[in-house]
Structures are given as structure tokens and as C-alpha cells.
Amino acid sequence: MLYDVILIGGGVVGCATARELARYSLSVALLEKTEDICNGQSKANTAIVHGGYDAAPGSNKAMFNVRGNAMFERITAELSVPFSRNGSLVVSFEESGIPALLALKQRGEANGVKGLSILGREALLAREPNLNPAVQAALDVPSGGIVCPYELTIAYAENAAQNGVTFFRDAPVTAVSRNADGTFLVSSPAGAFVARAVVNCAGVHSAELNNMVSEEKHSITARRGEYYIVDKAYRDAFHSTIFQLPTAMGKGVLIAPTVDGTILIGPTADDIPDKDDTRTTAEGLARVLSRAKRSWPALPARAFITTYAGVRAHAETDDFILGEPADAPLFFNALGVESPGLSAAPALGEFLAQSVAERLGAKPNPAFDPIRPGIPKFRDMTDTEREAAIARDPEYAKIVCRCELVTEAEIRASIRRPVGARTVDGIKRRTRAGMGRCQAGFCLPRTLELLAEELAASPLSITKCGGESRYLESNLFSGKAGE
């Protein structure tokens, strides 16, 4: 199959770039290694749109963070993704930390971040009464925000697909090489793909791909972060995202309210040998808790819904490595996109797409539609809106997930839409069914039935996340009796 552009990696960068490429008259395909898009870092991070004070001035991280941050109102409005500019606070518990806060402020200003100021203890506690009263001062970052990273990724993908991008899932890329005519041969068990240009946004595995086509070798260190999720009952405990100023004791952990009303606590940062090892560990989780208590002494340990871990792609340069290597024209890298990757994604997508389009001499696509309507969410509706939704689609009257108030209509839609869900985790990320406090204890049986029905498959074949992750071993009564 011949495409103008092939993207390798279905995370937020890949999906954002795919959507931006759809603005041009190009044939575009995205290859995702696993059974679903948004299966790597993009689904397991702190869900923050960073202010941009953290990265070194002049770095790609700094530039794309700030540029991307400014795009979030427009992008999330176009894609119907919830976003809140709730502000960030970098908190210091010692007076001796104030110079470091000032240094962050200066760095932020050098990066073009607006509105930074230092808050004193009283103002801080008035704003966030649940903060440890030992707090001394904080850097106030009004441009900080929060977004749901998987909703954003999936929305980008749907909009891309809506505008003609083809998505291949279960399409791991085993090799990339050059054909004689200069096109790329992208090999996968899912097929042999040929492309004029390749965008490498393969997360923790992106260096491996780069090193297949370029002598400018790079290496990615897999850096795992573990988290707790706190029940929505505590949604009002904090409003802004609380960072801890790094001290001699190490980088702190965050208290991170989400757009969904939960609070994320974490992450750790441990380098691991297996890039796909997303396990949580007793020791890592214990560290998260003890550090988080510094910010939130009354952290309600009995109110955890679940834990998770994500693995970041850290490049040896400590920065995003973007664009064509000198010796690999038309191979566009997005290597080492760890934090602030989510914040930078809209800008990275735009940049990569524009770079590719320019190099390919692409014309604009007049039919491009930037608007992606989301699946109307029953839980966010007023009763009057619910009544109207049920009148349009009676399946809105069938609640499947009690904790998150997700209806059958939404679950079916999440399967039927472009790049739709084919697994229980896929439904989870597209609708929140199963993400609530009972963790799918109530909704799992019905979710399995719905997937089986929509996919015309046996419930026995339905998986959590592809591969061997089936839920059901067999039917109690296999075969037929009395015949």
C-alpha cells in the first residue's frame, strides 16, 4: 500500500499530526503497534497542560510547550474535549526554596510564559485550604491547565479519520528501509507499506526506528511513573494543580485534579529496562504516598479508586528531537517526547504536519473539517437534555456504568465511530465506563455483551486490551445436549 505519509505511533503526537496532515491533500496512514490507539504514554500521564516554566529556554520542550499551551482552548473546542485552565502552583515548604521559585519564574518568563507571580503563604492557603499549612510560598502559573489525555488523543484520531486518514491497529512496525526510488518501505505483519514520508512518533520505541534509517543514533530511556487516583468525592479538595518544588530529596509528586473530578497523585520517575513495563510496584506506590502527604497531609488513603503507571520516553539529549536527520530526508522524528509532550502536542502536530507538507509540496485539502463532534455524555446533561437525548436515541435510557453514568448509547457509539473501540479498555477510554469507584464490577458483564453484539463476536473472544487478555474462559455448557 502506497501512501504519501505514514505515521508510526498512535499516541497524542501521532494522532495530532495525523489530524493536521489531513488539512492537506495527502494520503495518510497511521500504524499503531497495539490493538488500540492511545495505548502508551498518552493514556498514563498526569493529564496536565504545563505552563512552560520548567524546560530550558531555547529548547524544543520550552518552545513547543508554550506554543501548544496557547492552542488548547481552540483545539479542545474544535474536538469537543473537556479542558480547564485551572492554574498550577509550584509549592515550597521551606523559605529557602523561594530563590528557586524565583528562578523558575525567570525561566518561565524567558520561555514566554505570562502571568507568573509568587504567592505568599496566606494567599496560598486561602486559595487552597487543604494544602499543608507548613507551605511557605508558591509560583503561581495561571496558564497551567488540565485535559483528559486519552479523550484528546482519541478525538484527534477521530477527526483525522473523519478527514480521510486511515488507521491500522495491531500493526507493529518491524523494519523501516529505503527503496531504490527514495520511498520508505515500512514493514509490519499487518502488511508492507510504502510511503514518501514517514513520521516517527513511536514513543518509547521511537529511537529504535530512527536508528534503522539514520546514522545519528539516539537512545530512549524508559522512565516509569506510578500514580494513585482519588475518588471524585474529593473533587473539591484542590482546584489548581499542585507541584512540589524539587528539593535535595528529589523531584516531588503532584496533586493533580482532573477534568473528570478525580485527583491524580504521583508520579515517581524510575528508569526501567523493559520499555513496556507498566507495572505498579509496592515500593513505588509507597513513595508516591509519602511524598504526596507533604502537600496534602489529609490525603484520604481510603478513597483511592485505583493505581496505574505510565512509561515516559526520555531521550539522551533531555529534549524533544524533532525533524529530519541530515542523512534521512523525509523521515520526520518526534523522539523523546516525554513531559511536556501532552502540552506540546497541538503545536508538535502542527509543526510536523507543516514540515511534511512543505517538503512534499502538498496542496491544502478544501474539504478539511476541523470539527469533531464528541459522543454526547449523559452524565454531563441536565434532565431536560437527557429527555431530549432519549427521545432521539432510546438507548440513552439504558445505563450500563452506574458509577460514571454511562449509557448504552454512548458505549455503542464508541464502538461504531471511526477508530472505534474493540476492547473493554477501548470503551473505557472513550466513555469512562469502568473507570469509576467500582472499577467495572457492575458494568463488566453488560459491556462484554455489548462488545460481542456490536462486533458480531462471541463474548468469549472479548478482551481487555487485545492479545491474550480475554475475560471469559468458556461457556459453562459448551456443545449441545440432548441432540
Partner: protein, 118 residues
């Protein structure tokens, strides 16, 4: 020979020690009351169990829940389940309907414990 068992007669869960010669229980100690003595005797000489199980329903994927109407010998439980595995019921079914008569010659019927079909 000495046999140890836990009485299930009440929450005390007395730890019983019984003298069992293979056919008869000659002595029971450790019991807090007469229930324990009786339980040890029965449990060692002729242990019985109620069996609750699931049976296939023709034309449906959901099963039918059933039970033995009385306890049957403990050693027959798995054979009873096997016998029920060969059964398929045709709806409608009502609570109490005999699903399998005189299971394994015990004189005990297996009956439906729920209603299926209108």
C-alpha cells in the same frame, strides 16, 4: 483412630475430636453441646451434603439454578454434578419442577429453584 473436625452447628466452631473405628463413632470430645456430638457422628459415619448447581437451558445461554431436595451422600456430589451436566431443560420451568428424578438412586430429586420463561 482419632479424627479432628470443626463443628458447624453454631458460630462457636468447637474443635471436635472423635474416636472413629471406620464404621462407628465411639466417643466425641471437645464439643460444647449436644449438637457437636451429633454432628461428629453423622459427619464421620454418613456425611451428607445439599447440592446446588446449574443446568443447561435449551435455546438460552443462561443456566437454570437447581438443588437437591434433600442432602445426599457427600461421596456422590461430583457424580450428581456429572449427571446434571447431561441434562437440558426446556422452558418454561417453575420453582420446584423436578429436573432430575431420584438422582443416582438416592431417592432424592433435583428440582428447579427459579422460574424461567412465562
Amino acid at each position: 483412630m482419632k479424627r479432628e473436625l470443626t463443628c458447624i452447628g453454631c458460630p462457636m466452631g468447637c474443635r471436635l475430636t472423635a474416636e472413629f473405628n471406620g464404621t462407628e463413632v465411639t466417643e466425641v470430645t471437645g464439643n460444647g453441646c449436644a449438637v457437636g456430638a451429633r454432628y461428629a457422628r453423622e459427619e464421620l459415619t454418613n456425611p451428607k451434603r445439599m447440592v446446588t448447581a446449574l443446568v443447561r437451558v435449551l435455546g438460552m445461554e443462561r443456566p437454570l439454578s437447581v438443588k437437591t431436595e434433600a442432602p445426599i451422600e457427600k461421596r456422590l456430589v461430583f457424580d450428581c454434578l456429572a449427571a446434571l451436566g447431561a441434562v437440558a431443560v426446556v422452558p418454561p420451568v417453575r420453582i420446584g419442577d423436578v429436573i432430575l428424578e431420584n438422582v443416582l438412586g438416592t431417592g432424592v430429586n433435583v428440582v428447579a429453584t427459579e422460574d424461567i420463561g412465562s
